[in-house]
Amino acid sequence: MKKLKQRLLCFFAAAGFVLGAAACGNASNEAGETNAAGSATETQATEEAGNEAAGAVLSVDDLPGKRIGVQLGTTGDSYVSDYESDGSGTAVERYNKGADAVQALKQGKIDCVIIDEEPALNFVEQNPGLRVLPEEFTLEDYAFVVGKGNDGLVEAVNAALGELGEEGVLDEIKKNYTGTEEEVGSYLYEKQDVERSNGTLVVGTNAEFPPYEYYENGSITGLDMDIMQAVCDKLGMEMKIEDMAFDSIIPAISTGKVDIGAAGFTVTEERKKNVNFTDTYTTSKQVIIVADAGNAGAKSSFADKLYDNFVKENRYLYLLKGLGSTLVITIFAVMIGIVLGFLIAVVRTSHDRTGGFVILNGICRLYLTIVRGTPVMIQLLIIYYVIFQSVNVGKTLVAIIAFGLNSAAYVAEIVRSGIMAVDIGQFEAGRSLGLNYKQTMSAIVLPQAIKNILPALCNEFISLLKETSISGYIGLMDLTKGGDIIRSITYEAFLPLIVVAVVYLLMVMGLSRGVSVLERRLRNNER
């Protein structure tokens, strides 16, 4: 309880500060200290829990009994799972992305992170106080992943890989990303100017896995992406990248949303059951990242952090673009929600009052039950992966539809209660004047119902705005995902998360203010 309070205090102090800093556009040293104090408290709070697992991880043999962090669905995850059941109390923490695992390691929530070597080196370079153990965890081969039964594509890609190998292109690309210090950045694969008459190859990836795939200056790049581009050039195909959660890639391939997976996939027997692998294009290893004893991490000043997270390479654009998507999704979803919600509400109340619309009412009830009985995230995933499985529609449109359909169910019930709250005498007065059912509803009942429910409706749309933050699950870059991308580049949780939170907060506060003004206006009316 106390801990929670402490954290809340920290949060508000920090949020308040970020607001202030944003307002004057100038981060002072004093402020930097406030922030440092904030994270110190945080570390303290988590270390209490951390001290139980004694002894540091120095080699693979030390792993049993430790708290190991991995990225969900990676080979590290599946190997480490064997430790979980060995009775030594090993705990495996599975994170959606490597950067989150590293963050947890820095905060002492886990003892080590097992992850692919290249990203590991990248993480360590960005985070003083972390190091990679010299002894690797396992060796492994990377290959591209293709759907079962798509042997033609496997053969074509293998042929292209073979040619690229002979021409030396493959080696050049690999050196460019994973070679020695001089080699890195020396060779940029140029997209070839060839005829692309053989269609589009949809490549599924998870662009949070440098140097294999990551965001740079707003677009996705990396070793896998360059090789994929080279393959597409050989095949005479257009390449289209779909960014999604790592553990969604194989399901996306199985359902045909994506043609080929290029995300540092290790060849494993388990995966072979579900997908086909192309030839290996590179080898890597799983390594162990640990924190140095007494790790404090080099402290960069707050101003530096602000610069790194938002200014450098115009990273604030991730937030801005994301905010744009968030607003577009919310606004259009609200429109769908209102129109559909009203229709459903009218059908339901008409049925209640007149007994008509039996079939339509049944459909509406089923719809309401399903939509209100399942999490919106599952609905979003179902609409994207199942309903629009084979149809190529934009993700933004998918999100608008998903959130619109979801919102409609809640709007419908709000409207229905609003209609029911209008005195039946109003309805009878309208009918007795000769207005028909529709005229009575639209001219007399609905205007009064709307007035009653406007505040509740606005609140529904405020929650909708916040709910769209799960759009990232279908790889859509909304505000939250924009912050996530920055986090995956800078390995810094605090600033991107706080700024994203503050942006949501500001929007919600603005809307809430609007609602209360509206409420007051409505109350003053009719006097």
């Binding site: 005195d423 005498g425 109003q426 009878e428 007065a429 009918r431 007795s432 004047l433 000769g434 207005l435 028909n436 005229q439 001219a443 007399i444 205007p447 009064q448 007035k451 009316n525 009719e526 006097r527």
Partner: protein
């Protein structure tokens, strides 16, 4: 007072709610210019009867003929018929989100009986007639009960109906406001408007109605001129009822 034109003819009207029989066969004829007062103990079915006349309640059996048209025939456009049957409710049922004038104009304009301009003129004339011209732009919430009910009456008048049904129009009013509503109704009666009035105002029934109908146990127990009903009640039930309300 009445000529021979039949406005409403009710034939063996029955109405049950979930097996509970409220009206057990009512027949009567209402002619042009009639002012029919419906009296009877609470819960005897007066409102149900009245609301059956414009089909706000659907009769279980029997027939209601308005100017020769059988309203219980499903092929009849009930909305068109209701334009000609005004109704005034105990609870006024003014539309709270509209001004007084808008309340009056709504139906004539919506149903294309008048243009906007005509309806506005009509509304203002009706308001002048009941002395409430200054309330034209007010919202109902700012009015007294008596004012609301007078406006509800002219709202139904704006559709130029052939008959107006009143369901206890003064029962929800403070005593000092009853008079102003009754005097509007009285004035209406003198212009020859056909009216059916459910009421507990025996003075009004005696003075204004030309017929009084006593309903009890779902049937017409006694129907006669006010004089006969009040001076020479025949059934013991009516006598009992009158002894309680007079």
């Amino acid at each position: 007072m009445s000529d021979n034109t039949v406005i409403l003819e009710v034939k063996d009207l029955c109405k049950s709610f979930d097996g509970h029989e409220v009206l057990k066969g009512i027949s009567t004829t209402i002619r042009k210019g009639d002012v029919l007062a419906l009296i009877g103990p609470s819960g005897c079915g007066k409102s149900t009867f009245l609301r059956s006349l414009n089909l706000l309640e659907t009769p279980t059996s029997g027939h209601v003929l308005f100017e020769g048209t059988d309203l219980t025939d499903p092929s009849v456009d009930i909305n068109q018929v209701r334009e000609k049957i005004g109704m005034v409710f105990q609870q006024f049922n003014l539309f709270p989100n509209m001004t007084v004038r808008e309340n009056i104009m709504l139906a004539p304009v919506k149903l294309h009986k008048m243009t906007d301009v005509e309806a506005r003129k009509e509304a203002d004339e009706l308001l002048a007639r009941i002395g409430l011209s200054d309330k034209a732009d007010a919202y109902p919430a700012s009015l007294s009960g008596g004012q609301k009910q007078r406006i509800a009456i002219v709202r139904s008048l704006a559709m130029n109906p052939d008959i107006i049904l009143f369901d206890e129009p003064t029962s929800a009013l403070d005593p000092e406001m009853v008079g102003e509503v009754l005097s509007v109704m009285k004035e209406l009666a003198t212009t020859g408007m056909t009216m059916v009035v459910v009421t507990h105002e025996m003075g009004f029934a005696r003075e204004v109605a030309n017929r009084v109908m006593f309903i009890n146990d779902g049937v017409i127990q006694e129907e006669n001129t006010p004089q006969e009903i009040f001076e020479h009640p025949k059934s013991p039930r009516l006598r009992d009822f009158l002894s309680k309300v007079l």
